[in-house]
């Protein structure tokens, strides 16, 4: 196998040949997690096209079909695989639509965290001095408040300040903002740490000798080299954000009931748990666990695979 033969393979070939792919394909847990995560995400994203029912189409709801158990139970109806809830909505479809909301909130919240975190971390690490001190103290202060507390606080303020209809409309964004704003310090710290290492490397000095501006060095030289750990934390944080959203929705301060997320479904189903209709809450719960667990396992694998010390 000569180097020349492998010099310019196509992108797919390069990927299949990479160390990352190798470590991925040789870890059964990771492959299984990836499949589960793909199924969850795929089901969520494609819900409008592949879900057996549309739980929000009031016209198609049949109250007669309420409280149907899963299909394999004695009273089960094969058209409602995981049963129905109190309004006759298909639980499976509700889960798919709910996961959609959960994931949307999760992705957007992480994106917000990443954006703030990278900006703050790069600036703190590269510029140092007062900028560093101020940004990192803000991050420290932020870390002393639990996420849920901040989210409750923001939600409370928004609720008090805005009329109910308006609040329901923007509730989704409030949740995204609340979760996103509370997670940025972990990104900022990681980016700052890597930036401190990178800024003293000689390639950065070489750019400084040429006279490249600080902003440019931060963006085009330092940033690409600190993204690895960010990707890892982002993956782990996605699971966390989905959970945080579920917690908030479970507490009733999350997304509005007109757009139920997995957390909302669990809360609603919780009311029926002791009257025997367990499927209404258990299945959304299982979906949530599978989604968060698989994403977190993927994040763990990514961290190990990108860590040169463990290679």
């Amino acid at each position: 196998m000569s180097d020349a033969a492998l010099r310019r393979p196509g992108a797919l070939r390069r990927m299949l040949d990479s160390d990352l792919w190798w470590s991925f394909s040789h870890s059964p847990v990771t492959v299984a997690s990836a499949i589960v995560a793909l199924v969850c995400i795929g089901g969520a994203v494609l819900a409008p096209w592949i879900a057996p029912h549309n739980p929000f189409d009031l016209a198609s709801l049949q109250l007669m079909d309420a409280f149907k158990p899963p299909a394999w139970e004695a009273d089960g109806d094969p058209s409602y695989l995981l049963g129905t809830d109190d309004q006759g909505r298909d639980v499976l479809s509700a889960i798919m639509y709910g996961a959609r909301v959960s994931l949307l909130v999760g992705f957007c919240a992480v994106l917000l965290s990443v954006t703030i975190g990278i900006t703050a971390g790069l600036a703190a690490g590269y510029l140092g001095g007062t900028v560093d001190a101020v940004l990192m103290r803000i991050a420290d202060i932020k870390l002393t408040f639990p996420t849920i507390l901040i989210a409750l606080l923001i939600d409370g303020v928004v609720r008090a300040a805005l009329p109910r209809e308006v609040h329901d409309q923007i509730a989704l964004y409030v949740v995204i903002f609340a979760i996103g704003i509370s997670n940025w310090p972990s990104f900022a710290r990681t980016v700052r740490g890597s930036t401190l290492v990178e800024r003293n490397k000689e390639y950065v000095q070489a750019a400084r000798v040429i006279g490249i501006s600080r902003a440019r060095i931060m963006v085009s030289h330092v940033l690409p080299n600190v993204l690895g750990p960010v990707l890892v934390i982002a993956t782990l944080n996605l699971g966390f954000a989905v959970l945080a959203e579920a917690t908030l929705s479970f507490l009733g301060v999350g997304v509005p009931p007109t757009q139920p997320s997995l957390g909302t479904l669990i809360r609603i189903g919780n009311d029926f748990l002791f009257s025997g209709e367990w499927w209404i809450t258990i299945f959304p719960g299982i979906a949530l666990i599978l989604l968060v667990l698989s994403v977190n396992l993927l994040g763990d694998w990514l961290r190990d695979a990108l860590n040169p010390k463990l290679r």
Binding site: M1, S2, D3, W22, H26
Partner: protein, 326 residues
């Protein structure tokens, strides 16, 4: 000829990787006589440190000895169980590494580390061992040894630390010391002190030494014989003066020639074009053939064994039954 203290026969070290098995050491054979200093030189990646690591049984996984034998005093040590090997490592083989901080435990005083080593391997009680430890520290040139014995490694400077490491390697009175780049991390003026110390101690105690370094100057000053390594193989081995002044193998002579002399200014340094091959792409035949100025057809197909050449042994077809090349 006396029985060698250490004998390495056809040693082969492999690294299984997902792209196939890399052969890091291939058919490496040499011996060290009692009291002899063997220098091992080569460029980074030539396998010189790996040879040392294989002898002291500290190959980094997944590297493993895949063939050949290592004999200490006529006894095989390459296939010993871990615990047994550990005993030998302290008692009969001492190790000195490039970075003294990897050898010294930062949490214990140097005295405790010396005492522990000695009481483990020698019939000494702790009090005797402590007295001996102070003696050793004085011997390696630590000033005020009786006070410094209770200091921690970080309280010593780099040069002093390496002296402590030398004391630690020698205190169990091993028969063989494997020293891997013992002076590379030190400043020039400190290097000279440490080399002088190692040399005089080894001579005094009759200890054999395998001195692994990329610095030909250190070898020239310290070693009796020298082995030149390239791409995981020994390409030349012989008396140090012969190899330095009349290297037989084209690689060794190129290596010697590319060392800038301090005594005069050259218009142009002799250089070896190209770079050492990666382990994944070692050429067929003689591994040096793509860079060799004297290459001919046979070099590209058939691998040369060590053969007599100019008073040394060289793995080069130039010397195959053809004394007219000498």
């Amino acid at each position: 000829m006396t029985v060698p203290l250490l004998e390495v026969r056809n040693l082969r070290v492999e690294f299984p990787t997902r792209r196939g098995t890399l052969v890091a050491l291939d058919d490496v054979s040499f011996s060290i006589a009692p009291g002899e200093v063997l220098g091992v030189v080569g460029e980074s990646g030539a396998g010189k440190s790996m040879t040392g690591a294989a002898i002291i049984g500290l190959l980094e996984p997944p590297g493993r000895i895949a063939g050949g034998q290592i004999l200490l005093n006529g006894r095989r040590i390459d296939n010993l169980p871990y615990a047994e090997l550990r005993r030998i490592r302290g008692r009969e083989i001492g190790a000195i590494f490039q970075d003294p901080l990897t050898t010294l435990n930062p949490l214990y005083t140097v005295g405790r580390q010396l005492v522990e080593t000695m009481t483990t391997h020698l019939p000494l009680n702790p009090a005797q061992a402590r007295a001996k430890a102070i003696e050793w520290l004085e011997l390696v040139g630590i000033p005020a040894a009786s006070q410094r014995i209770d200091s921690y490694p970080h309280e010593f400077s780099g040069g002093m630390r390496q002296r402590v490491v030398i004391a630690l390697a020698l205190c169990a009175e091993p028969k063989l010391i494997v020293a891997d780049e013992p002076t590379t991390a030190l400043d020039v003026s400190i290097q000279a002190q440490v080399i002088a110390l190692l040399k005089s101690l080894a001579r005094e105690k009759g200890t054999s030494m395998m001195l692994v370094t990329h610095d030909m100057g250190v070898i020239a000053e310290t070693a009796d014989r020298v082995a030149v390594m390239y791409a995981g193989r020994i390409v030349e081995i012989g008396a140090v003066r012969r190899v330095v002044q009349h290297a037989a193998h084209p690689y060794s002579s190129g290596l010697m020639g590319s060392i800038p002399p301090v005594g005069r200014r050259l218009d142009r340094l002799q250089q070896i074009d190209g770079a050492m091959p990666r382990l994944s792409a070692i050429p067929r035949g003689c591994p040096y053939n793509p860079r060799c100025p004297q290459v001919f057809d046979r070099c590209r197909v058939e691998r040369p064994e060590l053969m007599p050449a100019e008073g040394n042994l060289a793995a080069c077809w130039l010397y195959d039954g053809a004394p007219q090349h000498a």
